[in-house]
């Protein structure tokens, strides 16, 4: 837990990876392009003292991850969000199997989320059942832009997706993390469009839909959906690193989220190893909406920060939260 100025924060990092983008695992130029793109995100918004060399960024060790998250990084519990990308990486980029190695070794530290792809049809439903049993899944991460042969993506509106979501409900998988990416078929539409989440969230009111990265670059569409569907949440990863070099932009995003969603439906995530949780948590706890913007957006309270950093996600995943009384 992070203690600062007499306050204690229970921190759930809702978006972490244990990926393998090493040269040996890259299947083609897309795998190379993918990790280079991630590295540009890392360089764009990380403070200088948190910049990694590229070789470590491609493949980091278990020890390194444990240190960055739990020893230095103030994180109490971290949630693995797999991203398969089997067309780009021989063994996948960040699969449930890879994450499970860590999650099974440190069961108190990690929550392991699964994944499904509706294009797997009946066989995928059976796999989901096996994964749910083996890993006691409470959540899945869906990446609709995943390539597969000629297919460059899928939609939450697909009839098969509904069958998978029904299965999730039956298996007690309540948290559906949705990530949008740039390569969805058909290419002529807006690939980042989050409107398919709207339909699914309405059709499955007992499931929680956490839109990762706030649906960026479609913040406005995401907020609009979240206003309609109370079971839609916003994952802060990718947006929160603005807090360091572009705090006024971050303040605007935060102000909009507090206005449209409120403090109970925003959840923290670092997207480790793109960014390290240590500086994100510390900077966020010290953050306030700048004075000249408070007329528009108000302020953010300590209680709200505690919810966003951990308590909201703890609620979604039934985590035991220690007493967060004031210290000292």
């Amino acid at each position: 837990m992070y203690q600062h100025n007499g306050e204690t924060y229970f921190v759930v990092d809702g978006h972490v990876h244990f990926w393998d983008a090493s040269l040996e695992n890259q299947a083609n130029e897309y795998g190379k392009g993918w990790i280079e793109c991630f590295y540009d995100y890392h360089k764009n918004l990380s403070p200088e003292e948190y910049l990694w060399p590229f070789d470590r960024f491609q493949r980091y060790s278990e020890d390194r991850m444990m240190e960055d998250l739990f020893e230095k990084g103030h994180v109490d519990v971290a949630i693995f969000q797999p991203t398969y990308l089997r067309e780009f990486y021989h063994n996948g980029f960040n699969t449930v199997e890879q994450d499970a190695v860590m999650a099974e070794k440190y069961p108190d530290k990690f929550i392991l989320n699964g994944a499904f792809d509706p294009r797997d049809g009946e066989a995928g439903i059976e796999q989901l059942e096996r994964d749910a049993e083996r890993y006691n899944l409470k959540g899945v991460k869906l990446y609709t832009a995943e390539w597969r042969g000629a297919s460059k993506g899928w939609s939450l509106k697909d009839p098969w997706t509904y069958r998978y979501l029904e299965k999730c409900q039956e298996l007690g998988i309540r948290n559906i993390h949705v990530q949008k990416g740039p390569t969805v078929w058909p290419l002529n539409r807006d690939a980042f469009d989050v409107s398919d989440v709207d339909e699914a969230a309405t059709a499955f009111p007992d499931l929680n839909f956490v839109i990762e990265h706030l649906g960026l670059p479609r913040l406005e569409d995401f907020c609009w959906i979240a206003v309609q569907d109370k079971n839609v949440y916003g994952g802060l990863s990718v947006a929160i690193p603005f807090i360091h070099t572009r705090p006024r932009y971050f303040a605007k995003i935060m102000g909009e989220l507090l206005y449209w969603l409120g403090e109970d439906r925003i959840v923290f995530g670092s997207d480790y190893a793109i960014w390290e949780p240590k500086w994100l948590v510390e900077t966020f706890v010290d953050f306030q909406i700048p004075e000249d913007m408070q007329g528009e957006y108000g302020t953010i309270s300590t209680a709200a920060k505690k919810k966003i950093l951990g308590l909201n996600e703890a609620r979604l995943y039934d985590l035991k939260v220690p007493e967060l009384g004031k210290v000292g």
């Binding site: 392009g33 793109c37 764009n44 058909p186 290419l187 002529n188 690939a191 572009r246 932009y249 605007k252």
Partner: protein, 231 residues
């Protein structure tokens, strides 16, 4: 083709493409720095285009390339106009398709089921919404109440970059640009009823924040990729 008429300088081409915009951000490609070079010879005008990431959406990137080519063609004096996209996952497909004057669907056979016109209109509407917020802010700063804004006409908008872009977008979308037409309209161009104005303006603010934030993200990534660092 082939016989160029008259001399042409690269800066004239730059001038001709100065207002070609990133369709998502509604910002000038030249100002964003995405136009990496313009070369003019007796026979060709070549524009080099770079984008912030390897995986920037193919459809938006196509629109940028196509719009650059069209704008340059207006001053090319019969020269062949080529746009060369680089460092992108489908850079060859886009360059070849656009330079051959192909339709998007032909270049991405099997991966697209229609053309990009609808997408373009979708983003003009977003941009128009965002500009309405900026104009409303300018009027509020001059003491206009929400009630007064409900009756505002296009001609009431104070001269500014936001106002002139708003006029351009309205023209592109077929929304009236007459000074006495309603200033605040829905994305489909119909006037906003007074009882909806507050929430619609708040949503316009959100849209403006979204465009600004995306622009800042893209500039940062582009700087990291090509200019040796963002800060």
């Amino acid at each position: 083709m082939g016989t160029a008429t008259g001399a042409l300088r690269a800066d004239e081409v730059r001038e001709a493409i100065a207002d070609v915009r990133d369709p998502e951000l509604d910002e000038s490609l030249v100002k964003l720095g995405f136009v990496a070079g313009v070369d003019v010879t007796e026979e060709d005008v070549t524009i080099r285009l770079l984008v912030p990431t390897y995986f920037c959406a193919a459809n938006f990137t196509w629109l940028m390339a196509e719009d650059l080519r069209r704008a340059a063609a207006r001053v090319a004096g019969g020269r062949r106009v080529k746009v060369l996209l680089g460092d992108h996952f489908v850079d060859e497909e886009i360059s070849e398709g656009v330079n051959a004057g192909a339709r998007f669907q032909e270049a991405f056979s099997g991966l697209a089921d229609d053309e990009l016109d609808e997408l373009r209109v979708h983003f003009w509407r977003k941009a128009m919404t965002a500009r309405q917020w900026q104009v409303a802010e300018a009027l509020r700063a001059r003491g206009w109440s929400l009630e007064a804004l409900g009756g505002a006409r296009l001609g009431d908008a104070p001269p500014s970059i936001a106002t002139s872009r708003l006029q351009e977008l309205r023209a592109l979308l077929g929304v009236s640009t007459a000074p006495d037409s309603p200033l605040f309209v829905r994305p489909d161009g119909r006037p906003i009823p007074v009882d909806e104005l507050e929430i619609r303006l708040e949503f316009a603010r959100l849209t403006s924040v979204s465009l600004e934030t995306n622009g800042e993200y893209c500039r940062g990534l582009f700087a990291v990729r090509y200019e040796g660092g963002a800060k």
